[in-house]
């Protein structure tokens, strides 16, 4: 049974208010807390000695979901978990991951999730991953996710990565390889406070003709936090790639955006856009002229920006 804190972490990272429908695997403090499989979705503990699970989704599975939230509520846990998703052809599924760390102790808590996705022909996958941290201990909350995506022809992957609160240090690495007519869309939303640091590295290889990607990051850096956004798009075929980094910088924060476009085919069309700046003065003025205080106006602008 999950306790109250663990339940609340689940709500934060996976919008779960109880046991989810469909397939799920809930991992709490390094142990399997609950699992459910369905006729089409199998979840099995890895047998190769590594910690983690294999998720196998049968070809043709539509409108099903898999939840694999992770909760750390004991201080001082450090784990690296390997989860592999094998998505058959012609599927249409939603995968919800996410990690919540509640650290009241003095030792660091760290979860490094290595997720690999093998997405079959013409399948659609929506992947949502939320990070959340809380607890007033001195121990740091650390998350270093690695995501690898291998997309077969005609597949479509939509990833939503959210980290708004409470994670002290994170380094996210996402690598993808796309075959013909495959598409990957990434929406990342990030906010850092205090002396937190967050790095996001994307490397998308557009290998098949007609493949495309759109990597969009919106972030807010407050206090003396640091963010680095690196997006590399490699065009190996007739393809189109677009990366966009839009950051609001506040206080004494530091934000760096490092674009890399690498075209190896004359029909590769690659675009990178990056904008870093403070909250626009006219936005604050407009909302203040509606009766909001400066702080309220700021909150609305940031809330909208990260929506």
């Amino acid at each position: 049974m999950l306790d109250k804190i663990q339940m609340q972490m689940l709500t934060e990272v996976a919008d779960l208010h109880g046991v989810p429908e469909g397939a799920y695997n809930i991992r709490v403090n390094g142990e399997k807390a609950a699992r459910n499989t369905t006729a089409n979705i199998d979840i099995a503990t890895k047998t190769d000695g590594k910690s983690g699970i294999d998720i196998r989704i049968k070809a043709g599975t539509k409108n099903e979901s898999v939840h694999i939230p992770v909760v750390l509520s004991e201080s001082g846990i450090k784990e690296t978990v390997y989860n592999d998703f094998f998505v058959g052809e012609d599927c249409d599924v939603v995968i919800v991951a996410g990690c919540g760390i509640h650290n009241c102790g003095s030792q660091d808590s760290q979860h490094d999730g290595v997720h690999r996705f093998f997405v079959g022909k013409n399948s659609r996958v929506r992947y949502v991953e939320k990070h959340y941290g809380e607890g007033d201990g001195r121990g740091k909350r650390v998350l270093n996710p690695v995501t690898e995506v291998y997309q077969e022809a005609g597949s479509y992957v939509d990833m939503e990565m959210v980290q708004i609160k409470g994670v002290d240090s994170t380094r996210r690495v996402t690598r993808a390889e796309l075959a013909e007519n495959a598409t990957m869309v990434v929406h990342e939303r990030l906010m850092t406070h205090a002396d937190q640091s967050a790095e996001s590295v994307y490397e998308v290889a557009l290998n098949g003709s007609g493949s495309s990607t759109d990597v969009i990051s919106r972030s807010v850096a407050r206090d003396s936090s640091r963010q680095v956004f690196e997006a590399a798009i490699i065009g190996n075929a007739a393809c189109s790639g677009h990366a966009e980094c839009d950051a609001i910088i506040m206080d004494q924060a530091h934000v760096a955006a490092v674009p890399k476009l690498d075209a190896r085919n004359v029909d590769a069309a690659l675009i990178h856009e990056a904008a870093i700046g403070k909250i626009a003065g006219d936005q604050l003025i407009k909302l203040m002229s509606l009766g909001l205080t400066e702080a309220e106006a700021e909150e609305q602008i940031i809330g909208g920006f990260l929506r």
Partner: protein, 250 residues
């Protein structure tokens, strides 16, 4: 009543300093519909921003209902009942039209009520209510949403800076009706900066601002005939070309 006493707004440039608003005196009585006109660059928008508290005065005093508001900030003036529709509407990433109307009214406005405000400015409400207030909207659409936020606030003193700018002539017909009915909608004092004869026509009073000063002020019937012969109202002739019908309604 709004009173500006000897108000000056100075900017420093390479060549020295310049009074954009230059020792200006102006009284706007309660419940009046006042139109400010005058040549481009005369200082009209600057004056509106001074009233809203966006531009701090370099010298002089502002009184609102006999209260000295010279030191009051934008928020305080907004809360006292001053509203301002910008000449150039602001874009917001992620903030929707309904959010902006809710912030304007300060309540969790129902979708139905929000739609009413949008319909007032001639927008087909259902298509717009969930749209983001960003560059995906046209200039005319943003402008009408901007006007709607001020109508929605319904405060006792509303300022509109060139509401006609960027709005096509068909929608303009609707907009004129909005301003003709505005005394019922907002029940307060209305200050409009405009070059349009149709708007000057519905004014109680007209103020001409030139070189940061009040060049002329008086009742419409006295000032309008005189203005129509001058450069201040060059645009006015255009309004005669607008079709009488044809305003698109949803």
């Amino acid at each position: 009543m709004l009173e500006l006493k000897n108000v000056t707004y100075t900017v420093t440039e390479d060549k020295g300093s310049k009074n954009i608003i230059d020792h200006l005196d102006l009284v706007i009585p309660d419940g009046k519909f006042v139109v400010i006109t005058g040549p481009n660059g005369g200082g009209k928008s600057t004056l509106a921003k001074i009233i809203m508290g966006i531009n701090p005065v370099s010298d002089g005093q502002l009184l609102f209902d006999d209260r000295d508001i010279t030191a009051a900030n934008i928020t305080q003036r907004a809360q006292m009942g001053i509203s301002f529709a910008f000449q150039q509407p602001v874009h917001f990433k992620g903030i929707k039209v309904i959010d902006l109307l809710r912030l304007a009214t300060g309540v969790n406005l129902s979708v139905g009520k929000a739609c009413e405000y949008l319909s007032l400015v001639g927008l087909c409400a259902k298509e717009y209510i969930q749209r983001e207030v960003n560059a995906s909207l046209s200039g005319g659409e943003l402008k009408r949403i901007e006007i709607a936020t001020v109508l929605a606030r319904g405060t006792k003193f509303s300022i509109f800076d060139e509401p006609e700018a960027g709005i096509d002539i068909w929608s303009f017909q609707n907009l004129i009706q909005v301003f003709e009915n505005i005394r019922k909608t907002v029940q307060g004092t209305v200050l409009i900066i405009s070059h349009q004869e149709r708007i000057l026509n519905i004014a109680d009073e007209i103020v001409v601002i030139e070189n940061g000063r009040v060049a002329k002020q008086g009742p419409r019937d006295e000032l309008l005939p005189e203005l129509l012969g001058t450069a201040s109202a060059v645009n006015a002739g255009c309004s005669r070309l607008t079709p009488e019908k044809g305003a698109v309604k949803c």
